[in-house]
Amino acid sequence: MITVNNRDKLAWHEGMTVRDILTQMNYVYKLITVTVNGVLVPRDQYDTFRVPDGAQVTVFHLSHGG
C-alpha cells in the first residue's frame, strides 16, 4: 500500500513508478515536486524510480507567484 499526501491510499504493485502513481491519482498539474519517503525524486526519474511498498509519497504542486 502507498500513501499519497498523508491521505490517499493506492494499492502497490511490483515495479511501481512515480509516473504510475501520478497517473493513478489523475494529477493534471505539470509543475510539481515529488518526494518518496522524504527524498526528492527528480523529474527525469519519474518513469524509472521504483516506489517501494509502504512508501509515503508527497506531491507538491508548484504555482506561479512570488
Binding site: N37, G38, V39, L40, P42, F60, H64, G65, G66
Partner: protein
C-alpha cells in the same frame, strides 16, 4: 540591543546561521527582512533584477530604489535594520547549474522565485547538491483573503508554504505574499533552531 526581546536562546543560534535567498522580490525581500529582524547572522542574496515601481505593492523597496539592482538595494535596507548582519550579494540570473556554488555556504535555502518552472529546478538543484540541508519554498500566494487556505507542508528536508493552487495571473497583493514570506521565514527559523544553527 536589537534582539533583547527575542525568544531566549534564539539569537545565539541564529547568529551562527547562513541563509540563502533565491530571488529578492515579494517573497525574498520580505523573508530576508524577517530573518534579519530574527537575528540570522549571514545571508546570501541572489537576483538579477532591478526595482520597478510595480514592485512597491508588495516588495521591501521604496520609491527612491526604483531602477537600482534589487540585491544591493535590499542589502542596504537590511543593514539599516542591523548593521552587523553579513550579506553576500550575487547580482545574476540563477540557473540549475549555478545554484550549488552560489549557495554553498548556506545552511538553508529560501525559494523566492515567481515562476513555477524555476521553483521546480531550484528545488531539484538544491536537493541534488545538498540533500541534508533544508529548502523552504512557496507555492500559491496570489489574490487576497482565503487566509485559512495558507498551509505548511513538509516532506524530508523540503517545506512548501502557501495554498498550492492560486496563480499570479489573478494578481499579487502584499498581505497574502507577506503571509507566505512570513511562513517561509518562520519555518526557516524553526529548522535552524532544530539543528543548532551550524552545519
Amino acid at each position: 540591543m536589537i534582539f533583547s526581546r527575542n525568544v531566549a536562546g534564539m539569537t545565539e543560534v541564529l547568529q551562527q546561521a547562513t541563509v540563502g535567498i533565491a530571488g529578492c522580490g515579494g517573497l525574498g525581500s520580505n523573508a530576508a527582512m524577517l530573518l534579519v529582524r530574527a537575528g540570522v547572522g549571514s545571508l546570501v542574496l541572489a537576483d538579477f533584477d532591478r526595482v520597478e515601481v510595480s514592485n512597491l505593492n508588495r516588495q521591501f523597496f521604496f520609491q527612491s530604489d526604483i531602477g537600482k539592482p534589487k540585491v544591493s538595494t535590499l542589502a542596504d535596507h537590511l543593514h539599516a535594520i542591523n548593521p552587523a548582519v553579513r550579506i553576500t550579494v550575487h547580482e545574476k540570473k540563477l540557473s540549475r547549474e549555478t545554484v550549488a556554488a552560489t549557495f554553498e555556504k548556506c545552511d538553508l535555502l529560501i525559494e523566492a522565485f515567481d515562476r513555477a518552472d524555476a521553483k521546480e529546478w531550484l528545488i531539484e538543484a538544491w536537493c541534488g547538491a545538498y540533500p541534508a540541508r533544508p529548502i523552504v519554498a512557496a507555492s500559491g500566494l496570489a489574490g487576497y483573503g482565503k487566509s485559512e487556505t495558507m498551509q505548511v507542508r513538509r516532506s524530508g528536508n523540503i517545506v512548501v508554504v502557501g495554498d498550492g493552487v492560486s496563480d499570479m495571473s489573478e494578481g499579487l497583493c502584499a498581505a497574502r505574499v507577506m503571509i507566505a514570506a512570513a511562513l517561509e521565514a518562520n519555518e526557516a527559523i524553526a529548522l535552524l533552531m532544530a539543528k543548532g544553527g551550524a552545519r
